[in-house]
Symmetry: C2
Subunit: 366 residues, 2 copies
Amino acid sequence: MESPRYIYVVDMTFAGASRVTMADVARVAGVSVMTVSYCYNQPGRVATRTRNAVAQAAQSLGYLGPDPAARSLRNGRTGSVGVVLGEHLVYAFDDPQARQFLTGVAAVCRHRGVGMTLIPTTTDERDGARVRAAAVDGFIIWTTVDSDPIIPAALSLDKPVVVHGGPDVQGTHLVAIDDRAAARAISAAVFDGAKRPAVVSFPLNAARESGLTPPDLAEITFPVTRNRLLGVHDYCAATGIDSTKLVVAVTSRNERATSRDIIDTLLDLPDPPDAVMAMSDELAFEVAAALKKRDLSIPYDVSISGWDDSPGAEAAGLTTVRQSLFEQGQQCARLALSDDNMWQQPAWQVVLRQTTRTKLDLQPAP
Amino acid sequence: MESPRYIYVVDMTFAGASRVTMADVARVAGVSVMTVSYCYNQPGRVATRTRNAVAQAAQSLGYLGPDPAARSLRNGRTGSVGVVLGEHLVYAFDDPQARQFLTGVAAVCRHRGVGMTLIPTTTDERDGARVRAAAVDGFIIWTTVDSDPIIPAALSLDKPVVVHGGPDVQGTHLVAIDDRAAARAISAAVFDGAKRPAVVSFPLNAARESGLTPPDLAEITFPVTRNRLLGVHDYCAATGIDSTKLVVAVTSRNERATSRDIIDTLLDLPDPPDAVMAMSDELAFEVAAALKKRDLSIPYDVSISGWDDSPGAEAAGLTTVRQSLFEQGQQCARLALSDDNMWQQPAWQVVLRQTTRTKLDLQPAP
DNA sequence: CTGTTAGCGCCTTCAC
DNA sequence: GTGAAGGCGCTAACAG
């Protein structure tokens, strides 16, 4: 003997509602199906009396409006933007950058009354299918590797595809600051006068191996990481630093606990750095904590810089690259909803505070 | 003159793909439409040769798999769970509790390969329509007020509805700890020996007015807030404390910065509290900071307790109610996907640390 | 293992 | 201001 899975409110307004269709409402109201459809989609077109009759019929039957699946089959819109966070999904809510970005996306979605669908991926070959099977009107892809197959998969659907961070693929919109220029500028702030510059870097590629790597640009497939390292090299080239001597500590994740080991390794080198450019404020905070533990002063023994100017950077006096992930999230959402043709590259700015020694003015050229 | 909105990869595999249907593939492969459908949905059922022929036809036409809208119109499933965070949506990613919860939901979704659709609401009368218009297989509703209309709206669709926190509505699944019992237990820990107990509370209702309110239970429509205050009253009743003398500082949001003013007001009362039960660890941290600013010692001048045992509580030595929002998120997701009939109420536990003076054993009865 | 039939619930198109 | 026809792309149910 089976018992019902759910117990419904007895009110007939709601019972079994999902099986009621426009046709039922039309029959009860004594009008055609089209009239019911108009009542929901172009109410101005329907006579007030008719509209009331339809409303009453709908109410008495517990009809609750057009079915979303049928509607989107018919008109091709789903009312949701897809957001692909990659393997990242499960810890996206812990990453301050991803959070600010998602908040920006959410703000636009809420304003427009559209949903945001987080699409899970797992780095296996079924990801393309999952992306294509998502009922969304456009895609936002959180920073990924150069030839991530989900990008062509998303592109194949004839819907807007917006990539945040990178890579820059033909047919997509790229929303990202000029990481290379910003890296060059922040290098000037943090490496000014340094003898032994070092970088604490995001992962190089999907393998996410941590290590003290000499920067082999060829194996870097995360565009953000690559562009920032290129910017550092630009600075080295311009100032006569031998960039092959640059130490790059690569973390496997943008998270303090995860990066602790490699940062310790970096600071305990026989010839430890006297200036550290970190690719995020989080990582910079961890470097600062590690320096404090070693009784090294910032910026006199070691100057450090972060990236993002996240909440907390100001209080910590951290020199950093300011950018608004929130605004970038908003921009991505607008582009994914085809609601913004006025593309402009997001702004960035070097914010000089107390963790670096330089007094130079390091803003980007206008 | 119009220029094309997107530039597509020239590869014909992808161009204009979205207009290719199963019928086209069937024609080219020389089979029926059903066979193509089987190839995608029950490949084991199709002969290898046929399957290859279909795959080749699909490839040559640039067919990329079944259209999600058509598929869900037909079979009634969408492959996504809806999550309603209320007005909360835009700052949900800042709230540590909501984040842990969402991470739990995301973990299950990723495992099952289903998406999670965040449904925006704005507290206007169109919310019901927005909820119903979401193409999802089930709803998860983040803690809300007693008679939030989105609950009947979601219920009317004949899909599983899971409410986290509260309210407990017939026909929905409720996932929440026994807040009342837990509040009584944590009260025993934090108020033990106190002369002037106080509570720093979540909002009472959707108005979210901050204030130093005498606890009028009738106006409280957030079940979580109500249950926790009831638990405090239970404790008062059992120990002979006059609960009308209990001071309740109500915050408008579970966030440190927002709650600062009311906490200052509370601590600067002519007769300030000597024990504070806060409804979250965040709020407790803010209380601790405010006490420190006043050079009051914890727990000797003032004992305090938090709620959730979030990361950070242990390091701070905070006495708190431990619960796993992550597991609760997982449970909600499973229920929303009709994948879990083994419902059991989530566990909680009082964790005694250094911010309270009591040494009693305060675990829940088995 | 493959095909036929019959819609899913709605909205575009075109008539009146 | 309203209605009739037709089909969006797919799959459940049932043959064979």
